[in-house]
């Protein structure tokens, strides 16, 4: 037993030794609430998980077993830092759908998911304090990477046609005026996460012109580009300016995120450094995962599978849109033409982050808009995912969400923490 001399118990004796970039890595009650969202009782409109039940797992498991029997010692061995050559060839078939016709397999670098790719390009380009221009709101996973490299994010605004060129240029000028170095534009031009909007063709041309004018690299993150609801594919920025764009895409949304296989296409100098950076970071992407993906691509009609996904996600999106019209007509939202997300604006004065515990109690989950900013903004928005829940669950989720918003609004109005005295009627932005 102890004596009576007080002694200090440190929960983490290494506290004080961490790099300053680790300061923001803290436990959060919001993150903890998502542990409940994984339970089946909760309708989760939060996660961007693709629906995988359409995949031919029975046939695939036999083919993967055959691959292991015949090539197991290769599949379970170290691989190349650039990635499996055969898979890189197959990726060229995919990117052709987005008008990238000039790329060679040698231009492709395989990564452990696009998150790994974002990490590599940020590590390669950014010293602490360097500026990255990003859309407002911005993909939460990218924000985390940029913060970990102590890059400064300057926002550029979007509207229904995606990133606004004038805002992009203003942000560059602002950074330059501050004596900062702008290293790249990070953009999700097609079916944006979380905003759901798509950059128009005219704007793509204009954004690339501005980037060239200021010698700013464009990092194009395009995981949703093939998931349009009208079978229309937009030309990737990379297809319009191969020398100034680093393109990232992934099998996560079109096949399966559990494989953690994604790719980058980059101009030669950057590509060479990406391979070296990948080698120092992970040695090589998983051969097993790459060969499993190759087995799928080689043996199944993946284009038809993507068409099925498009139809399913379109139907789910329409169901969510209709449920919002029925239950929450006083909110506004975009109706995306592809991808996974609806970006919902809630009544003025409500705080989507503060409301989340009430939603969890009501057995529905979403992502607060605050997650997509590092400035504390976004409390008036939430991201709703229609990709994973069935249509019946989507309707039930929106019904539950409407009761949560109603209760929160009534509470906020009661305590005068919102300026609105009645529920505002805002027509959906279609």
């Amino acid at each position: 037993m102890t004596n009576n001399t007080p002694h200090i118990i440190k929960n983490d004796p290494w506290y004080g030794s961490y790099a300053s970039r680790a300061e923001d890595m803290r436990a959060s009650e919001i993150r903890a609430l998502f542990a409940v969202a994984s339970r089946p009782e909760v309708v989760s409109l939060a996660g961007g998980m693709p629906y995988l039940d359409f995949l031919p797992f029975d046939e695939l498991s036999e083919l993967v077993a055959k691959m292991l029997r015949e090539e197991g010692s290769h599949a379970w061995q170290y691989g190349s830092a650039q990635g499996n050559a055969h898979l890189r060839e197959r990726i060229l078939d995919i990117v052709r759908l987005e008008h990238i016709t000039d790329a060679q397999a040698d231009d492709v670098v395989i990564t452990n998911g696009s998150q790994n790719g974002l990490d590599l390009i940020t590590r390669l380009m950014c010293d602490p304090g360097d500026v990255i221009i990003a859309e407002d709101p911005n993909y939460v996973g990218a924000l985390g990477v940029f913060k970990s490299f102590q890059a400064e994010v300057i926002n550029a605004h979007m509207d229904a046609d995606g990133l606004i060129p004038e805002s992009f240029e203003e942000s560059i000028k602002y950074a330059i005026a501050q004596g900062k170095r702008v290293k790249f534009l990070y953009t999700v031009p097609t079916f944006h996460n979380p905003a759901g909007v798509t950059m128009s063709i005219e704007r793509r041309t204009r954004i690339l012109e501005i980037a060239r004018k200021y010698h700013v690299l464009v990092v194009e993150d395009n995981p949703y580009g093939l998931l349009s609801f009208d079978n229309k594919t937009y030309p990737a920025l990379r297809s319009m300016d191969p020398d100034n764009v680093v393109y990232l895409s992934s099998f996560s949304k079109i096949i399966a995120p559990g494989m953690r296989v994604a790719w980058m296409i980059a101009p030669p100098g950057i590509r060479q450094k990406l391979v070296l950076a990948n080698e120092s970071s992970i040695l090589s992407p998983s051969n097993m995962s790459q060969m499993t993906i190759s087995t799928y691509l080689d043996n199944f009609d993946w284009k038809k599978q993507i068409e099925e996904y498009r139809g399913m996600y379109k139907s789910r999106c329409e169901t969510m849109d209709q449920a919002l019209r029925t239950y929450m007509p006083y909110c506004s939202w975009n109706k995306p033409q592809g991808g996974f997300y609806i970006w919902l604006k809630i009544p003025e004065g409500l705080d989507a982050k503060a409301m989340l515990p009430r939603a969890i109690t009501a057995r529905v989950a979403y992502v607060s808009g605050t997650a997509f900013y590092d400035t504390g903004e976004g409390a008036d928005h939430m991201r709703l995912s229609f990709c994973y829940p069935t249509e019946e669950r989507i309707v039930e989720g929106i019904r539950r969400l409407s009761t949560v918003v109603d209760e929160e609004l009534a509470t906020a109005q009661l305590f005068g923490t919102t300026s609105t005295s009645t529920i505002p009627v805002i027509k959906p932005e279609n």
Binding site: M1, T2, N4, P6, H7, I8, I9, K10, N11, D12, W14, Y15, G16, R26, A27, S28, E29, R31, A32, L33, A35, V36, R39, E41, V42, A354, M355, L356, P357, R358, I360, T361, R363, E408, T411, A412, L414, F415, G416, T417
Partner: protein, 328 residues
């Protein structure tokens, strides 16, 4: 064959994440002793079958559910219905201790302990009587600063310290996101201390009072579960007579609330050296950064041995009391 221990964790409360961590930690320590066949189960529609099927039925259950359903006694009632012994306070005692205003009332009236002045108000009262008049009366009656808490719940979720009357409405809105009723308490400045109480069969042990020192003065969720910033000091830096009084008060609270086996009692020792009871924890956190395990290790216990002793003690008591005979 070793006796079967079932650790219940998870659940659907706001504290699911903490509960999973507590459950897996305790299960790991018990397994490491080699004395028990340990299983872990969530609260779901497969649980009752698991509890009653002879192939899986445990010999004893350790509920490590935090938050509603876990600490309000309801799951313990279910365990009593299926005649399974479990570790921790009985259902009705849990129901009382879990409700902070009721627990405060019991320890004040029966235990003669000091508690911070407070009022307990459901949202409907503000709606029916008007927000501003009530807020004015709260501040006039209790003074500032205040702390607003959900009347039930843990991990400091939904708690806000209010220094200015203008902050009170938002604090109430944030609180009502977690619960229908708010406990609005005068915020006592002083030393925050916890006393964990363990019944190992041989004796009821009050571990030395642990002082919680946080850089910002508030032991909120982030401070609780981010290792590093918060320091625990054992024993608390208090005069020996105050330390003794804290220990006695903790044991009094444990007894008058009818708690058993394991619990944690929290106090603020005010500037006059008087322990002010804050709450009693039916299911104290058992994560790697929680107070009770750190306190036990500081007191010289091996956690695997300690948890085993508690299990052995409860098993030896033949607690399969029929449900209708249940009492405090």
């Amino acid at each position: 064959m070793n006796p079967r221990v079932l650790v219940l964790c998870g659940g659907l409360s706001h504290e699911r994440d903490v509960s999973l961590s507590s459950g897996h930690r305790v299960a790991g320590f018990l397994e490491d002793t080699g004395k028990w066949d340990v299983a872990i189960h969530d609260v779901d529609n497969a649980l009752l079958d698991f509890l009653t099927d002879p192939a899986t039925r445990p010999d004893i259950v350790w509920p490590l559910l935090h938050g509603s359903y876990g600490e309000d006694g309801s799951i313990r009632d279910v365990l009593e219905m299926v005649d399974l012994p479990y570790i921790g306070s009985r259902a009705k005692a849990s129901m009382l201790a879990w409700n902070k205003p009721i627990a405060k009332n019991i320890v004040r009236k029966i235990g003669r302990l000091h508690t911070p002045h407070s009022v307990t108000l459901p949202q409907e009262v503000f709606r029916e009587l008007g927000v501003q008049p009530i807020i004015n009366h709260i501040v006039n009656s209790l003074g500032l600063p205040l702390i607003v808490k959900p009347s039930m719940g843990g991990s400091a979720l939904g708690c806000t310290v209010v220094h200015d009357i203008a902050q009170l409405p938002q604090a109430l809105v944030d609180c009502f996101a977690y619960a229908h009723t708010a406990l609005i308490e005068h915020f006592v400045e002083g030393t925050e201390v916890s006393v964990s109480i363990l019944d190992t069969g041989d004796e009821i042990i009050a571990l030395p009072a642990l002082e919680i020192s946080t850089p910002h003065g508030i032991y909120d969720y982030s401070e609780r579960y981010t290792p590093g910033e918060t320091e625990f000091i054992v024993p608390a830096r208090l005069d020996s007579d105050v330390l003794e009084r804290v220990k006695d008060d903790a044991l009094t609270a444990y007894q008058v609330l009818g708690m058993r086996d394991i619990s944690r009692i929290d106090f603020i020792v005010d500037r006059d050296g008087i322990p002010q009871f804050l709450e009693a924890n039916v299911t104290p956190g058992m994560t790697d950064v929680s107070i009770l395990p750190r306190q036990a290790v500081a007191a010289g216990f091996n956690l695997g041995d300690l948890y085993s002793r508690i299990v052995e003690s409860v098993l030896s008591q033949n607690r399969n009391v029929p449900h209708e005979k249940s009492s405090l």
